[in-house]
């Protein structure tokens, strides 16, 4: 604090918008507002970009999780009256992480490569080649700061405890070795049915899926088409990425409707082949997901946004005359004023501020009361031999009968510069109603994965059980397990961005972000077409 007070004054002291926290939603807002000619101050208490979406070295990740999960002592908010025409009200923060369990099995090895780890805080996360985030990246031109690589393969954990390859495209179905000929035919026929439904050139009634079917649960529709269980699981959990058990009638609104399922399928299909040098539907940014936030921040900076890192916000300023928000007080003691404020979700605005907040409609809001349990493993072994980067989905009830939602696993190898060449970072996440439930599911997935290493390792098959267990320990170098709260974006004179959700990509978060921008600036276009041609680079850089 002492050196913060030495911090040079920020000049000017009045902005159109102040954004606190450099998570992806905040970064996009900052970039969008600057692109619309607003003056923006972007603050972050941390010395790095990304907030809850950051990619961190192992050590920083550990200390972040430990400090962010520390219980906060509730202290009554203090309102200090100044001689001026506004009042400052101290901000409170809440703890959004809990149940952190970090184990290191080979500290020396990790220490040796300490600088080579770039671990995502909000993993597992990928981008679909045709999703909103990639669209935004291309439209805004931040692809010049980013480089992506394809996820090589997707797998589904089937009822019988086997990995099933997910054939998402025509070429993949053709090449697949595990599907029978009839299954290939059934799956491709279903894909074609959907394509025909979505094709604007097809206008015949017969080529469209009826409205009645569109409003029924997706799994019922798949049943109606007589798709066998295996195909259904692939479509529901590994392509449409459904979270809850879709065969369970009790889950009510959590059942994916046909129209939603088809939209997700369409996203998957348009993703395949969008970029010539990308194979498959999924992309991952080199150096980790945190690069995305950073890229948008750089973009905002180019457009005039002012950045101050390592600068916490300690209090809100309230106008005495109209009781409205007026500005923020920084840890340095400086007061900064703005029309609008966007806060990180970890802040609690004291009751003294009578904020009217409007929740943003976003699809994931149905899961708002649920938590996200996340796990991270650093291993010496790949889940599947010869595959570096891959996605693995455990549909509900495949790990144990009480597994309520899908557990998704993303393995990223050293070729994406997130860890040393001979290691792998494995991200695990699932939605849960309680921390214990979530941890149980993530643990079960971790166990299942470590068993895969053993069965995958050809030279260990001849060795007896005891040495196997030892070998397993050696495979797993580090693991972390934590539970993260959910929160939706909220709009008001003080707005909030959402926390990372349980989805695999950013689409729901981006929808909320775009909506927030439109609410804040109803007359502005979100990222108007840039006129400077030099900003855009070849799409080829996309992978």
């Amino acid at each position: 604090m002492s050196d913060l007070s030495q911090h040079p004054l920020i000049d000017p002291s009045t902005f159109d918008l102040i954004v606190v926290g450099t998570g992806l939603p905040q970064s996009i807002l900052a970039a969008a507002a600057s692109a619309s000619g607003k003056t923006v101050l972007h603050l972050d208490p941390n010395p790095y970009y990304g907030g809850h979406f950051a990619t961190l070295p192992l050590h920083d990740l550990t200390s972040f999780l430990n400090s962010a999960s520390a219980p906060l002592l509730p202290s009554p908010p203090l309102a200090s009256y100044d001689n001026q025409d506004y009042v400052s009200v101290d901000l409170q923060t809440r703890s959004l992480y809990s149940d952190v369990e970090i184990s290191s099995y080979a500290p020396e090895v990790l220490q040796e490569h300490a600088r080579k780890f770039n671990i995502d805080l909000a993993g597992p996360r990928v981008l679909f080649c045709a999703d909103k985030c990639i669209d935004a990246v291309l439209k805004v031109g931040v692809n010049q700061y980013l480089e992506f690589k394809s996820i090589d393969a997707s797998y589904l954990w089937d009822q019988n405890g086997k990995l099933v390859n997910v054939p998402g495209s025509r070429a993949a179905i053709f090449k697949d070795k595990s599907l029978s000929l009839t299954e290939k035919n059934q799956l491709m026929r279903f894909f074609k049915l959907v394509q025909k439904h979505l094709d604007p050139a097809e206008d015949g009634e017969s080529s469209k899926i009826s409205q009645e079917d569109l409003d029924t649960p997706f799994s019922d529709f798949l049943n109606k088409l007589r798709l066998p269980q295996k195909m259904k699981s692939i479509i529901l959990y590994a392509i449409s990425m459904a979270d809850s058990d879709q065969n369970d009638n009790d889950i009510g609104q959590n059942r994916l409707l046909t129209k939603e399922g088809i939209a997700r399928l369409a996203l998957y299909h348009t993703s395949i082949g969008r970029f010539q040098n990308a194979q498959g539907a999924l992309l991952y940014p080199i150096y980790g997901q945190g690069e995305l936030s950073q890229a948008f921040c750089r973009r905002a900076a180019v457009k005039g946004c002012l950045y101050v890192l390592r600068m916490p916000v300690v209090a809100l300023l309230k106008d005495k005359s109209n009781e409205q928000y007026k500005g923020v007080r920084l840890a340095s003691g400086q007061d900064i004023f703005s029309q609008q404020l966007v806060l990180d979700p970890c802040f609690i605005v004291p009751q003294l501020f009578k904020l009217s907040l409007e929740s943003l409609q976003d699809v994931s809001s149905r899961d708002v009361n649920r938590k996200v349990a996340r796990g991270i493993c650093i291993t010496k072994h790949s889940i599947v031999s010869d595959v570096k980067n891959c996605l693995l989905v455990y549909p509900p009830k495949t790990l144990f009968p009480e597994q309520v939602s899908s557990v998704r696993v993303l393995q990223i190898g050293g070729n994406l510069a997130v860890c040393p060449e001979d290691m792998f970072v494995i991200y695990i996440s699932t939605l849960c109603d309680s921390a214990n439930q979530g941890k149980e599911m993530v643990r079960a997935a971790m166990n299942s994965i470590t068993l895969l290493f053993v069965s995958d390792c050809p030279d260990s098959s001849s060795v007896d059980q005891d040495t196997n267990a030892e070998g397993k320990d050696l495979d797993l170098l580090w693991s972390a397990l934590y539970v993260q709260e959910s929160s939706v974006g909220q709009f008001g004179t003080v707005s909030f961005t959402p926390m990372p959700d349980g989805s695999l990509n950013y689409d729901d978060l981006l929808n909320a972000t775009f909506e927030l921008f439109q609410k804040m600036y109803p007359n502005e276009e979100l990222f108007p077409e840039t006129t400077t041609a030099g900003d855009h680079q070849d799409d080829g850089e996309e992978s």
Binding site: R170, A171, I173, F174, L181, K184, N185, M188, R189, K192
Partner: protein
Amino acid sequence: MHGRPRKPQKPEEAEASAVEAAKLQNLQSQLLANHHQKNYAKEALEVSANLLEMNPDLYTAWNYRKLAVEHYLKESSSDIVSIEAILNEELRVAESALRQNVKSYGAWYHRKYILSKGHSSTDHELRLLGKFQKLDARNFHAWNYRRFVAGLMNIPEDKELKYTTDMIDTNFSNYSAWHNRSALLAKLLNQKAEGYFPMEKVLNEEYELVHQAIFTDPDDQSGWFYHLWLLDQTVKANPPYLVSSWPPHSFNVALSRTRCLDNHTPSPFCSFYSDSGTIPLILYFDQPVQGVDSSSVIVKSTANLRDLIWKPLSKCNRDTSKAWISHLTFPQEELNSEFYSVEVSIGHSQKIASATGFHHVKPTQISFKVAVNFKETPSEDFGNERIRWKDENFTSCGISPHNFPFGSDNSTSEGDYAPSTSEWCVETINNEIALFRELLSETDCKIGKLTLARLLMAHAATSPHANEMIQLEEVLDLYQDLMKFDPSHFHFYKDEHSLVLLQKVTSTRESLLRHCYSYKEQTSPYIDSTACLRLNNLSISRIGCVEKILWVQLLDLSHNELGSIDGLESMQLLSCLSLSNNKIGSFTALEPLRLLKSLKVLDISYNEIGSHSIDTTRYLFSSPLSHSEEIDLSSDEMATNCTDLASYWEAYFLFKDISLMQLDIEGNTISSESFKAFLVKILPKLHWLDGKQVQ
């Protein structure tokens, strides 16, 4: 490159294209001037390069450049550096022309020409091809060029095969890739290259691969075409065998010079009349063969037979044919009737071989007896009786089934005519049938039905006695379905349906007998036998299964939908033929008749001869002239004297070698008084024309 709609031109585009046209015209006239003056100066070459970049399809410009290259090469014959420079420039021009139009024949040929000069590197060409194939993976020019480069640079076939696998893996809707695969595999299999032997193993893997494509997307045809090729390889992999013959094995043939038959002949099927004391000997194989001659076919007889000359029975005079004919001439000195036995054996030499290189290896023997009766006969009163193809003139004949010359039943041992199909082939076809039945139960698909029909037919051909009838019914149903659901290919399905229908009719002695009738007028001078096969009113559009009916002398094909009679040329015993009320469109379509030397009565009334101004059958030949025999017109009186010859040339060409006695032609557009007069002129032996006696 595919599926891009054409948009109407905008005004500014039209203007731009007018400017371009003017520029093009200017360059073009400069080029032609340079070409004429043999001006190969640097500036002149530049003009042609500019022109070709704009319009790569201009052959003259490419030729000009070739001449220029030759010119410079001669000048700098020893200077390697300048030769290199010249050829490099050509490669550059060709490449930029290809960038303009990747489907320009001229540019690809020019590149080939430069490469044939021994220039450029494999890597460079393959890289260039890689670029073009990225633009359009199916571009057949690029594939064609790839084969050329691969051949020139001796790239091993299996490496190229791997390339096709990669291309198919990326997108299996690629005819060019599948096609190249078939070409490469055929070569590798032929060489029995390492890893490509035995053939059965390789083909099994290919079936496996193509199944993935077909089942993933049955509506994509490229896989199906490859499957068809595979099926062809599977079935063709069998050595040819003799299907039938005339005379059939263990038959007694009565050969006489009389037309009026005493009632002593053993069967109406085997009496045969011949002026010259000869009978035809016909061998019919399951696939076209070559190498049938007096050394590969040994004929032994108690009669003193002259050396036999074998001819293929094929419209186009090729040297391969399914049917081969020779004539046995019996000595005429003796006045009394005599029995001769004849033994024909084949399979002792490897000379008889199919087009795919398989040899007829199975020793096969046919023996029959010929009763020769050359008693002097009173000269006959020709021309008084006319054959009438009316129903009332036919009675269902009381022919004893045992005298019936029906195919393999009469051979001494069953094995004689049986195909020697490999177990693998039968098993493969059975597997495929099961697989496609499964596919069709999942999804409705035209080409799937067609393939199943083909597989069932292949099955019937390889194992002729197993449930054949049931399968034929299934095939007929499949083609009926296809005619209904795919009307744009109706005629193709109709033809296939006809062939299967004929196979069904001729498949058993009983079903064939149902179509056998006796002609009432026993005394008719045109016929040696009264047995008539009536295949009328079956709505068939093609002829097939002639090997089962080689014995037929009277054939009624009226009231069908025949547009072609290909195959009929093998029925060498035919003397009376009715094709009335069919869809014969031209005399060219009747050309098989030219090989039927014993044909005397022909009814082609009520067809469509003359109604089609364009004779499409001509297009079936590589050159419109290739199918015509050389005719020495100078010695031909008709040719010099007849003024109508030009307009009725095709009729003349057809009829000049057949000595018809009775002809019905009414009900055709061409039939006019002048045409009839022309016919009377060219058919000197004609007694009846359209039911009227010829004066």
